[in-house]
Symmetry: C2
Subunit: 144 residues, 2 copies
């Protein structure tokens, strides 16, 4: 038995791919299913290609009606990744316009959210980094 992926639904595939690109995941495969009007994109961290995230993007309704709203629920918590340098990852995300909801004040843990509010936990690989500004005095923003 083997873990394959966690699937999340995305309302804007380009915006979501831009988020995961900033985070550092890379596209592994993509299926455009014209008949079902959806696109599946599988992403993974370089060097860890077998544990994937599957993005499901349902194309906008042909009749012009509003697409479904992908609200969040409490039974799902987050996806977690280990990163080589949590400050560098958070700097890259922040520079790309992503809110760091829980800054890595402790050099160990941070939280961000995808455009559809899927919570992503970032954990420093190995030992926590030494607390450093601007992170050490940065406040939480919103929930995660």
């Amino acid at each position: 038995m083997k873990y394959l992926h966690t699937m999340i639904r995305v309302s804007d595939i380009d915006e979501t791919l831009a988020f995961f690109d900033l985070l550092g995941l890379e596209e592994q495969k993509r299926y455009e299913v014209e008949a079902g009007r959806f696109t599946l994109v599988f992403l993974a961290a370089p060097g860890d290609e077998e544990a994937q995230v599957e993005l499901t993007w349902n194309w906008p309704p042909e009749d012009g009606s509003e697409p479904e709203d992908y609200d969040g629920g409490r039974n799902f918590g987050h996806l977690a990744y280990a990163v080589d340098d949590i400050y560098e990852t958070c700097r890259r995300l922040a520079d790309g316009g992503i809110t760091i909801n829980r800054p890595p004040r402790d050099g160990h843990m941070a939280f961000v959210r995808t455009p559809d509010d899927i919570s992503i936990e970032l954990l420093q690989k190995g030992k926590a980094l030494k607390p450093a500004e601007p992170w050490a005095s940065m406040e939480n923003i919103g929930e995660w």
Copy 2:
């Protein structure tokens, strides 16, 4: 960068552990945090211990009030696992009282749900098995 886990919140830790035990995941580590009144349990498939599921169980409120309801949202889709024999896995789950929401009619794919309605996709490793009863003529039950 490396995938670590997907975290889900569970309202009944024993019931959820029984579900994942039937599925075939094994406990890797557990933290009981008395101060925060929560328990974390990390599970993984044997032989694939690094890709984990983290269960967060918040203990019932001390004041006797109702615990939080862990409803589902649409932004999260499912967790997917490859299994060696999808019929055997589904038989084991069904014998344990788990509803097979999407039976493996095609010998390839099935869906079940955890007690908190987290959707789990099961995919047959390698080639699909030959369609076989009772699965081939079994109807879908509910959503997944």
